[in-house]
């Protein structure tokens, strides 16, 4: 690990909130109990597609202990979508159904009662008259010209369509020596955050609502809740307690947020709703199921000339993050390699399945599954080592892709080299005994995005840091730590700038009344974007302290340094003052005013090509990350069961701010990627989830984990705080394809559909044996 004299950056600092969490002291939304609080439950549709003819709530309302029942008639006439501010026409969902229900689990009514038992009981006494409608459950059915329309205003059930067309792909294919096309299908999985969606709302008599919610986007949630409540946005206050995971599934607004608010308004009492695990699986949100057809043209030496793809996404019944996810499904294919000609089409369809949304890596695990298995097929066909093929094509620092990504730092080659060495690839590839295999995949992601999700006048991140004469600093931030560790990273960044230790810096949790705005905890943006804002705020504060200290020492501001809890003249640590003294001096010179530093981060239009959401041209992100994974597997010849024995991971995440943090992210990504490839699958029949629990939906457990070896390539991005970039979300993408490629290496069986089951492998092995 490169040191460069940092005292806090790069160190394995434990989570600032870690002890509280493991001791059970940390307060999550479900722990919040307010005087007089009521408990809400949601009545859900048993049908995948039906018209609501009538709802009779009278019996439920008469149950003792029931305080309010609301239906679609009680909500303002505002349709919701996460993108409703940017693209109002994409709003497609009444958060309590008014006219129709569109999936099994769609929200029909909500009840508040004096206990969860009573509220749940009351659901049984709401009489809903439905007129069943024909439903579609697959992309093929949704496309069918005779298919019923899920939303009357959307012909062909085609929700979003994106085309990115750069260069001339057809010409590229003609100029290629080898062209192949493959089709891949991915399945349904879920975020499986340990904390389900929970909310508490308190609508007070001033007309203001306070919402405590398990969210990764408090500021956006505030704006969206105001829109669907049809009240001024400053009448909404959102407080984010500790959050037990988000992975994309807690961005924006969820129906329970509105239900809590309206039930609270109607009853004059605070209302809490907690989703059950069954509600999470059956009625919340999922990773998109995709069908990907991808075509590649290469020269004999392996260089990619042309690549074309059609990605179809099963979006489920509503929009959620739909347009962005659709856009990114195409965008990912332009990353990682040099490709002069690309044409990527991405289409998201409505079906009567539960809505799909963003999930760790957006659509990158799906896209990389297709592109990285295909790269393996190309390598095989051309007789080139799979790692060498990626080396040949990898983007490098300074490159601009044909669609306008500027690679400010990129060390794919070093990542590839590292996993090759650490896994002893050359000794193993095609040299392992039968049923043992090794495979690899590249990957890449972004470090945040350029979208202005909080509106054109609000920076992506604003952070204030205040200093106290007791020797501590306090960060006022709107960044949502949802378990990913951003609070710790921000404390480290501020501590490093101010010459403090990490434990000297504290940070607020998000309260939209008091915290400066920060965009969502999505798109791998916090370390890069909010980290820059924090760094700038700390520098701003430091300058104020330096000015006061310089006067006292009769030194120049430029000669001062902050380190080891002191501010002193560079090279003469003796000539200086302690940090508390510096703060005291500064306050004295400001009539006792508390000293505060300010910082913000927003994309710089002068540096980056603006993103065109129609053509797809532009730099989506201020910085890009790269990585590589080698997987080793053993296949049981009798059962077909795959055991992943080793995952060697290398990731170019720029400067590592917190080693423990990125290692934790990496292990989590390995678990999620392993589950995606081999274990997890929501089994759905006629729109009903058949395994909505942690028994029959099989997340890998601790004993199923392989040995993991992490290596971080520290590329030092010029735009990142201390050179840092993404080191979390992108780690999940390459696991699936690396495992699939290793299974091929072990068995000769090539799978293009997920998930791969032991039964599929055993059938394949028996068939091969029969053929021999």
């Amino acid at each position: 690990m490169k040191e460069e004299g940092y005292s806090v950056i790069g160190k394995p600092i434990p989570r600032v909130e870690g002890i509280q969490k493991i001791k059970g002291e940390a307060v999550y939304t479900a722990d919040i109990a307010l005087p007089g609080m009521l408990y809400g439950k949601i009545l859900r549709s048993p049908y995948p597609h039906a018209r609501i003819i009538n709802i009779d709530t009278s019996k439920a309302e008469m149950i003792k202990g029931v305080r309010a029942v609301i239906t679609g008639r009680d909500i303002p006439d505002v349709r919701y979508a996460l993108s409703m501010k940017m693209f109002p026409e994409t709003a497609d969902r009444y958060l309590l159904s008014r006219d129709k229900v569109r999936f099994v689990g769609n929200d029909v009514a909500a009840v508040a009662g004096i206990s969860e038992e009573i509220a749940e009981e009351a659901l049984q006494h709401i009489d809903v008259e439905y007129e069943e409608l024909p439903a579609v459950f697959s992309i093929a059915d949704a496309i069918n010209p005779d298919a019923p329309l899920i939303h009357d205003h959307v012909p062909g059930n085609l929700h979003t369509s994106i085309l990115m067309d750069f260069g001339d792909v057809e010409k590229g294919f003609r100029e290629s020596d080898y062209v192949r096309e493959d089709r891949f299908v991915t399945h349904l999985v879920q975020h499986c955050f340990l904390e389900p969606h929970n909310s508490v709302a308190n609508f007070d008599s001033s007309g203001r609502v306070t919402l405590w919610t398990s969210t990764q986007s408090p500021f956006l949630t505030k704006q969206l809740l105001a829109l669907v409540l049809d009240i001024p946005k400053d009448n909404v206050r959102v407080i984010k307690p500790h959050v037990g995971g988000g992975f994309g599934g807690k961005a924006g607004l969820y129906p329970l947020d509105l239900h809590c608010a309206l039930l609270s308004k109607k009853t004059g009492k605070p209302v809490r709703i907690c989703y059950t695990r069954e509600e999470e699986f059956a009625a919340s949100c999922r990773r998109h199921r995709t069908e990907i057809v991808i075509k590649i043209g290469v020269k004999k030496d392996g260089s990619i000339i042309s690549r074309k793809a059609n990605v179809k996404l099963d979006g489920g019944a509503y929009n959620t993050h739909g347009p962005v996810v659709t856009f990114l499904a195409a965008l990912w294919l332009s990353h990682v390699y040099r490709q002069p000609n690309i044409r990527f089409e991405s289409q998201r369809f409505y079906t009567n399945n539960s809505p799909c949304t963003a999930m760790r890596g957006y659509t990158s695990p799906q896209s990389y599954l297709a592109s990285e298995i295909q790269m393996d097929l190309v390598a095989e066909e051309l007789g080139i080592d799979p790692i060498d093929l990626r080396m040949k094509n990898g983007l490098r620092t300074g490159d601009t892709t044909v669609n306008g990504f500027y690679i400010s730092s990129g060390e794919l080659h070093e990542c590839l080299q590292k996993v090759e060495e650490r896994s002893e690839w050359k000794k193993k590839y095609k040299k392992l005994p039968p049923l043992k295999g090794i495979g690899m995949s590249s990957t890449g992601l972004f470090s945040g995005h350029q979208l202005s999700l909080l509106g054109p006048y609000t920076a992506s991140s604003t952070i204030f840091v205040k200093a106290s004469p007791d020797g501590t600093a306090f960060i006022l931030s709107g960044v949502s730590d949802i378990g990913q560790g951003s609070d710790t990273v921000l404390c480290q960044i501020v501590a490093e700038e101010l010459g403090l230790r990490a434990e000297d810096v504290r940070i607020s949790s998000v309260d939209t009344d008091y915290s400066p705005p920060d965009s969502l905890s999505v798109s791998a943006r916090c370390t890069f974007q909010s980290g820059n804002a924090a760094k700038m705020a700390a520098i701003n504060l430091k300058q104020k302290l330096f000015k006061a200290v310089a006067e006292k020492l009769e030194a120049n501001v430029e000669d001062l340094e902050a380190r080891d809890r002191r501010i002193y003249v560079k090279g003469s640590p003796g000539k200086g003052v302690s940090f508390p003294e510096a703060v005291a001096l500064c306050q004295l010179s400001h009539k006792g005013m508390t000293i505060m530093g300010e910082g913000s981060w927003n994309p710089d239009p002068k540096q980056l090509a603006e993103l065109n959401m129609v053509t797809g041209y532009g730099s989506f992100s201020p910085a890009y990350t790269f990585g590589a994974v080698v997987a080793e597997v053993e296949v049981d010849k009798d059962t077909g069961l795959v055991k992943v024995t080793n995952l060697y991971h290398s990731h170019d995440c720029g400067r590592v701010i917190n080693l423990l943090g990125v290692e934790g992210q990496l292990e989590g990504a390995c678990q999620m990627g392993l589950g995606y490839a081999l274990f997890e699958n929501i089994v759905v029949e006629d729109g009903k989830a058949l395994n909505p629990d942690f028994l029959d939906y099989k997340m890998p457990t601790a004993v199923d984990m392989p040995k993991m070896s992490a290596h971080f390539v520290e590329s030092n991005d010029p735009g990142g705080p201390f050179g840092a970039k993404e080191g979390a979300e992108g780690l999940v993408g390459p696991i699936g394809p690396a495992i699939m490629n290793a299974i091929y290496n072990a068995t000769g069986l090539r799978f293009k559909d997920l998930p791969v089951t032991p039964e599929m492998i055993l059938r394949g092995l028996k068939k091969k044996k029969g053929e021999e």
Binding site: R44, Y47, V104, E116, E121, E278, V683, A689, V703, D704
Partner: protein, 333 residues
């Protein structure tokens, strides 16, 4: 999800429990560990207007030996079985089967009696009343006339998936059952009806008090092997228990039972016949496993096809037998 209202009693004796169950016949359930029952009541899959807690009954939570007969109280937890000094040596397969169940949290609560009487499983059955279930056509297990798993099926195909029962069955265990008419001693196999929708022959007011394992010959050796995708939590895809009584390399007696292949544990009778009286060898075990593959007709379930499950019967009968053989070789060495 919350429990509905129910009447609750704590029984202090078996007789009291039985009389409470008889008094509320059809509406009452005995509550032991609750790991299978309570979630089902929450989901309104099982109805119970009355719960009779059995945990206060003394004398049913121990493992002891009397005159060579091993007696396990029905309230003994699976966790206690794992740790029992009496379930060692050639009875260790029982402890291993207990250890193979669920997770440590579940094993600390779950009792042997409850484990033997756990409900049969089907992906189409165990769903809450809050999701679609009210409008699904009632399947056999819910008192209806259709099967959602086998679309034209004429019966219920829910599978019994207990891990401990096959081992006890291979050991020839008996159960002491208390009911309103008094006490009965049954072969464990007799409590399984083989019907998915009503998997047990016991009447609603009957309770298992104790499990008796007959004296085991010192030259008996056993094993339980469980196939599952994850190393924890999962029910078996297939589980196989085998016990052999040997005289050097001669198999004097063999007993093989499987779980998760039908609505009750299933004995591999033809495989046993191949082994019984024969000289043990790898080929013999192969042949026995082939017989099991032939004779067992698993129900497709939880996404696995009949073809695959038959293959797994072959593989896991073989693995169980090999484990027994290795143990026997070690024991006699």
């Amino acid at each position: 999800m919350r429990l509905p209202k129910f009447e609750y009693f704590e029984a202090e004796t078996l007789q009291e429990a039985v009389s409470l169950l008889s008094k509320h016949k059809g509406k009452a359930r005995g509550l032991a560990g609750g790991t299978d029952l309570l979630p089902k009541i929450k989901r309104r899959v099982t109805e119970a207007q009355v719960l009779v807690n059995l945990q206060g009954i003394t004398g049913l939570r121990s493992i002891s030996e009397e005159g060579g007969v091993l007696k396990i109280g029905a309230l003994t937890t699976l966790g206690e079985m794992e740790e029992s000094p009496l379930l060692k040596g050639n009875l260790s397969a029982l402890a291993e089967a207990a250890l193979a169940v669920g997770t440590v949290q579940l094993r600390n609560m779950a009792t042997l009696g409850g484990n033997l009487c756990q409900d049969t499983r089907c992906l189409y059955y165990d769903h809450s009343h809050l999701f679609g279930q009210p409008v699904w056509e009632k399947c056999f297990k819910r008192g209806g006339e259709v099967c959602h798993l086998i679309k034209k099926g004429k019966k219920c195909f829910a599978v019994y998936s207990g891990d401990v029962a096959p081992v006890l069955l291979a050991l020839g265990a008996r159960v002491r059952v208390i009911g309103s008419a008094g006490e009965r001693l049954l072969d464990l196999s007799e409590i399984y009806s083989g019907r998915g929708e009503q998997a047990y022959t016991l009447s609603p007011e009957e309770l298992i008090a104790e499990i008796h394992v007959p004296k085991l010959s010192p030259s008996s050796y056993g094993a339980y092997v469980k196939y599952r995708e994850r190393g924890s939590i999962d029910f078996p895809i297939v589980g196989a228990a085998a016990y052999f009584t040997v005289d050097k390399d001669l198999i004097k007696n063999a007993s093989i039972w499987l779980t998760s292949v039908g609505s009750a544990p299933v004995e591999a009778v033809k495989a046993e016949a191949v082994l019984r009286g024969a000289k043990i060898s790898a080929d013999l075990i192969e042949e026995a496993a082939r017989q099991a593959h032939q004779e067992i007709a698993p129900f497709p379930n939880h996404g696995y096809s009949v073809w695959y499950l038959k293959e797994m019967v072959n593989v896991f009968v073989k693995r169980a037998c090999i484990k027994v053989w290795e143990d026997a070789k070690g024991g006699q060495a």
